[in-house]
Symmetry: C2
Subunit: 411 residues, 2 copies
């Protein structure tokens, strides 16, 4: 198995607010080629330091990918540092300079003299064209190993890597078939999920399993790496069947679609419509449903009833019911859902009431309490949960997930 | 100025989905002490490689902070690697082992034999106590330089750093006063903001200026580093006055409060209430307003009217007006705002209608078009913008920002 190391260059990447995301994207691409990333670096604008890092990386690994530091200023040290690391000269390459000049002309600007630095090429390098910016990349083969210099802006780097580096790497690496089975799961906690499926995935080194969890929404990826597509598919089918057997209908998507998109597809297929009534989530459920393009085909709208008066005024929840059971109650959730369904004429209505915290005024339910009502053609159901999370944003996100999960199972 | 390097350890940190966030938090703490971070690394579970990295970092920098790799298994290589790098022995430290054992007993569990590895201490190390987990840290002084070994889980690392490392570092470093002026700005683009204030901040190496932009909401931080608090405050006052002069009322917060929180405070001070009516943002504006704890004191609720029929039914927008001007129009925004104000009885109502994309059906306004209506005690205003961004989530976020900005100026 071949190894790679990734170096991000730039003092701005060493501040408390900047994260190097290029390396995550590159790692995914390299893993798919069967290459493992064994080290990552962020190095400031320091020629000596960067040159040493490149030398060290070349000792341990087969591929060294460098991103950033290709701008026109004195602070952009990548070209100089790699030349220094390899003990090679740089020469001015007129066609690059002309292309940069043409790019400036197209924007009705004159190329500053300083940009000519971007046309300096290290001896022996192949030029990697940049179709999204001025700085070209460079590809250097050194004793069978590779140093690739790529631009820092992610859209420039991604385009260059896919057009220029992938074909070169594929030629150097044994053909390998990578297939991914991606499942999305709802209705259980992350630890429940892991307990349920780990006895399966721990039997396999291949496929590699990744579990991602975010506010009650979970994804499991199985990445199979085989000599042929058929072998990889067979392996995923074998693992997938075992996972299906233990997770059942908690798997809501097998193609990456979100829960709100899956619910939308089912509603469209049935020609049905949906409305919502929200208290604790304050509009977050409607926001999530409408984040899917085309949602106006099945989502008619919603109510954010943040006071008792609005629950009465717009959803017809009676004052007596609110007084008797409280705004955070099974009865209120049911009345909100039925009110929203009736007022909008939608086939389905989801209602959420609860206490997202961070505090409770004493008479209300404890922080983390959520009631979800679902009114539909055959009546109304209410589910109830109390989350320990004392985090307003998380409780709200969990509540939205619970509501969509209820509707999805019903559909 | 002293330098630091930060090493994150663990093969799991070299996957496409994991980001080392400990280094961001540590960078912030180190910068506040006047220490600059000049390199960061992520190294897999490889003793030789990690030992080499530690040695190299110690050549270039004064402080080397290592996070992770302190667990009890063979894959946890940090203790061994640092011992190897420094050429020092490790010895078993019974009190650590006893403390770990007690921790297990408290959870009614027996300490596995393997956890005794966590009680191995490198010769000459001071032990850094862990009040959130089992693995203690270690503090090593080497020829006036420091290697600090910290646990990987962020809550363990943060607690240990603040209790154990900060006091030690403060003793080693010259006293320095750091003061921060943090402004939040709305109503201009990031490039307009930078063009406006860069002639000011470029005159100063101290304070250090950071501009953060996220969907139309911007923050500018000035970090002054002086010998005394008075000098730092005077410097920030000098820079702040110049920034005030050019930005004026586009600065909406000087204490970190969000735009929705500032609007809420102003409403509460006046004893006034707010309602919303949303089409394009689909509940996102209500969600944002209610993300502020205590928002029920001034936010009564909202309508998500995702169809023409709902605009008519719930906001009283006439069918003739919709037919004549379209759902995405100045007239509809005005009627939605006035309808929401009237139906809820709130003092203010914000309405958003527009086309967030990604496509338009031809009869509607172009993608990125947003109208915001604000109905209040003295009448209704409508503002209009078209964003070039062909990104549904961004257009929706910009629209919410624009709406809150309008109300904030009015208040």
């Amino acid at each position: 198995m071949k190894n790679a190391e990734i170096i991000a260059v730039g003092s701005e990447m060493l501040t408390p607010t900047r994260v190097d995301t290029n390396s995550l994207w590159l790692t995914d691409k390299l893993n798919t080629l069967g290459v493992e990333v064994v080290a990552k670096y962020v190095i400031g604008d320091d020629r000596t330091r960067l040159a040493e890092t490149v030398q060290q990386a070349l000792v341990s690994s087969d591929f060294v990918l460098i991103s950033g530091g290709l701008g026109p200023t004195e602070d952009d040290v990548t070209r100089d540092s790699v030349a220094l690391a390899l003990g090679r000269e740089q020469t001015f390459h007129a066609p690059i300079s002309d292309a940069i000049e043409a790019r400036f002309r197209k924007m009705n600007r004159v190329m500053p003299e300083i940009n000519k630095r971007q046309a300096m090429v290290i001896a022996g390098a192949e030029i990697l064209s940049n179709d999204r910016g001025t700085a070209p990349g460079q590809w250097l083969e050194v004793n069978g190993k590779v140093v690739a210099i790529l631009p820092g802006p992610p859209h420039e780097l991604k385009s260059m890597f896919e057009r220029e580096c992938l074909p070169r790497l594929e030629k150097m690496l044994p053909a390998v078939a990578i297939r991914i089975l991606g499942l999305r799961i709802s209705g259980m906690s992350e630890s429940e999920l892991d307990q349920t499926i780990s006895p399966i995935y721990k039997q396999y080194e291949n496929p590699v399993t990744t579990v991602l969890a975010h506010n009650g929404d979970m994804q499991v990826h199985f990445r199979a790496r085989c000599e042929t597509v058929e072998a990889a598919d067979a392996l995923l089918a074998e693992v997938g069947a075992q996972v299906d057997a233990v997770l059942g209908d908690r798997i809501y998507s097998r193609n990456g679609d979100t829960l709100e998109a899956v619910v939308g597809q089912k509603l469209m297929a049935k020609g049905q419509t949906l409305a919502v009534a929200e208290s604790a989530t304050g509009g977050g459920l409607a926001e999530r449903i409408t984040s899917t393009p085309g949602s106006s085909a099945y989502f008619v709208g919603g109510f954010v009833t943040y006071t008792r008066r609005m629950k009465t005024l717009f959803l017809g929840v009676s004052e007596e019911l609110l007084a008797q059971h409280g705004a955070v109650s099974r009865e209120t959730a049911q009345a909100m859902a039925e009110g929203a369904r009736e007022k909008t004429g939608a086939d389905w209505a989801l209602a959420i009431t609860g206490n997202a915290g961070p505090t409770t005024d004493g008479e209300e339910a404890p922080v983390g309490t959520i009631y979800v009502g679902l009114a539909g053609p055959e009546g109304t159901e209410v589910n109830h949960r109390v989350w320990a999370a004392n985090d307003r944003a998380r409780v709200r996100a969990f509540a939205g997930q619970m509501a969509l999960d209820m509707l999805n199972r019903k559909l």
